[in-house]
């Protein structure tokens, strides 16, 4: 009998959480349904030419068609590769420069004015200069993305390393930590919340700028290029499906990559609450 009762309550509990989950799904889906319905009504009312304002099923058909043909995955893959290589440059360079700036006065005095002058200029403004120097194509795109995404990484790493509590450093020293262990065991973990924030900002910046760079740099494949090229042929459905893929990638980057990373490291160490 007690076992049965336990099972029953267990089932009731799962049903309740299941119900709640459905409620949450419905709550999140509802706004999209409303917007989709409005879009559909406007598209079918014929106020705008359907070529420019296609109904949703045409967009969905384009999405499916391009995915099956392998065109959309190829574009998306190239964009992601470009994003990752640009971001890798930014992460490695930015963290290295940031740590150097925070640990050595000389490096700070040398780099800070240069960074302070270059950072406030919008990243895309450098695009024509990079195109001129490195030519149209991948090299310019990746370098520009890396260059632009580096600034938030530098700034955050720099202030993170500087914000490591003096008392931690002194107590580690008193306990006999040498320079290397001081770095790996005290400074790096202490600065990590800031560095992660910087990486996150850098990735967001890289992502925002990459799409535009792909339009300007005339790369052979890439979502930005696909959207830009579709304009020539008035393929609004292709454009909208490209934008949808971009939204999904952006959302995944934010929710899956960085929040997870944060949970695994700094939240688990108790340096930051969720």
């Amino acid at each position: 009998m007690p076992i049965d009762a336990a099972v029953a309550t267990d089932r009731a509990a799962t049903r309740a959480t299941g119900h709640e989950r459905w409620h949450a799904v419905w709550r999140n889906a509802f706004p999209f349904l409303v917007c989709g319905a409005v879009w559909e009504i406007v598209a079918r009312a014929g106020i705008f030419p359907p070529r420019l304002f296609p109904p949703l099923e045409v967009v969905a058909a384009a999405l499916v068609r391009l995915t099956i043909a392998g065109i959309l995955p190829h574009h998306a893959l190239d964009t992601l590769l470009r994003l990752l290589s640009g971001f890798a440059i930014a992460a490695v360079g930015g963290v290295a420069i940031g740590i150097a700036m925070a640990r050595s006065r000389l490096a700070e005095d040398i780099f800070l004015p240069l960074v302070a002058v270059a950072a406030p200029i919008p990243g895309l403004a450098y695009a024509p200069l990079f195109l001129l120097w490195f030519g149209l194509g991948n090299v310019s795109a990746v370098l520009l993305v890396g260059f632009v995404a580096m600034f938030p990484v530098i700034f955050n790493t720099w202030s993170g390393v500087k914000a490591v509590k003096e008392i931690w450093l002194r107590s580690a020293q008193a306990m006999g930590a040498d320079n290397r262990r001081m770095f790996t065991h005290v400074i790096a973990p202490g600065a990590l919340p800031y560095i992660l924030t910087g990486l996150r900002l850098g990735l967001a910046q890289a992502w925002r700028i990459l799409v535009a760079v792909e339009m300007l740099a005339a790369v052979p494949w890439g979502l930005g290029w696909m959207i830009f090229g579709a304009r020539e042929f008035l393929n609004t459905d292709v454009m909208l499906s490209g934008i949808a893929v971009i939204a999904v990638i952006g959302l995944t980057l934010e929710k899956q990559v960085f929040q997870r990373l944060e949970n695994y490291t700094v939240v688990r160490w108790g340096m930051m609450t969720q």
């Binding site: 709550r27 999140n28 889906a29 509802f30 706004p31 999209f32 409303v34 917007c35 420019l52 304002f53 000389l106 700070e108 005095d109 040398i110 780099f111 800070l112 004015p113 240069l114 002058v117 270059a118 406030p120 200029i121 919008p122 990243g123 895309l124 403004a125 450098y126 695009a127 024509p128 200069l129 195109l131 001129l132 120097w133 992502w207 925002r208 700028i209 990459l210 799409v211 535009a212 339009m215 300007l216 979502l223 930005g224 959207i227 830009f228 579709a230 304009r231 008035l234 609004t236 454009m239 909208l240 490209g242 934008i243 971009i246 939204a247 990638i249 952006g250 959302l251 980057l253 934010e254």
Partner: protein
């Protein structure tokens, strides 16, 4: 005393560092390893800057860009702040808008440029709308979290002292959320400034700083390109420091909600 000396030494080193960078650049430019059209010496950059300023074209380009930024940014503030407040105060509005906002936010504004070009043509409308799109989300998000983070004790204290809804809103919620709102304005201006340059490049009209840079590329006018880069950087920097810095000093710092890091 030592702090002052320290700062002087830093200033000296900063000047030296910039001067050294300029010297290296100049040496590279003059060495002839790279074509002069690609790597113009500083002299010709400043000459290009001076010439374009003297005949008024640069000012006109800057004026067009500023007009687009201010229009888009103004719209973003006018819509973002009220929406953010509504989202924070009413659960239903939050439930409706939050999923939409979090789905739209990761779409870079530039991805919409080709679409907007189709819908609205080339020119001011497209650029202003792109700026608006880029600037709205930080504004909305910051206002929302600012209003939500107003200390509940203040609300209860004001309520206990007999504040009605309207006074609660104007005297407690708005000042309480102000640091977030101003930070949001700062962020969204930065976004707007980035967006306008990109939008002007892609949706090229014939005026605007972004367009100058992009157009100069076609004619290999690297000196004009660097000159307009300087102008873009200077305007962005000055707006950030002068406008938003003084806004912050006049409001939240005076109310004692945020301390100046420098003092």
């Amino acid at each position: 005393m030592t702090a002052k000396q320290d700062r002087q030494r830093s200033m000296l080193r900063a000047t030296l560092s910039i001067a050294a960078a300029a010297a290296i650049y100049e040496a590279l430019a003059r060495s002839g390893i790279f074509a002069a059209a690609l790597l113009p010496p500083l002299g010709s950059v400043f000459k290009a800057l001076w010439d374009s300023l003297a005949d008024g074209t640069m000012e006109l380009h800057a004026l067009f860009t500023m007009y687009r930024v201010m229009f888009g940014f103004g719209l973003a503030v006018a819509i973002g702040i009220p929406l953010g407040i509504l989202m924070a105060r009413f659960q239903r509005i939050e439930n409706f808008l939050l999923p939409l906002v979090s789905a739209l936010m990761p779409i870079p504004s530039f991805a919409l440029v080709p679409l907007f070009m189709l819908w609205f043509g080339i020119g001011n409308t497209t650029t202003v709308l792109i700026v608006f799109y880029a600037a709205t989300f930080p504004m909305l998000f910051n206002t929302w979290s600012g209003v939500r983070s107003v200390n509940p004790i203040w609300l209860r204290a004001a309520g206990a002292m007999g504040a009605d809804e309207r006074r609660l809103f104007w005297k407690v919620i708005i000042p309480g959320a102000a640091p977030f709102i101003i930070a949001g304005m700062r962020q969204s201006f930065l976004r707007a400034w980035i967006a306008v340059v990109g939008a002007e490049m892609i949706a090229a009209s014939d005026w605007g700083l972004g367009w100058v840079i992009f157009d100069a590329k076609e004619f290999l006018n690297a000196d004009l390109m660097v000159a307009s880069l300087i102008v873009i950087g200077a305007i962005g920097f000055m707006t950030e420091r002068l406008v938003f810095g003084s806004l912050e000093r006049l409001t939240v710092m005076r109310w004692g909600m945020l301390r100046d890091a420098r003092s």
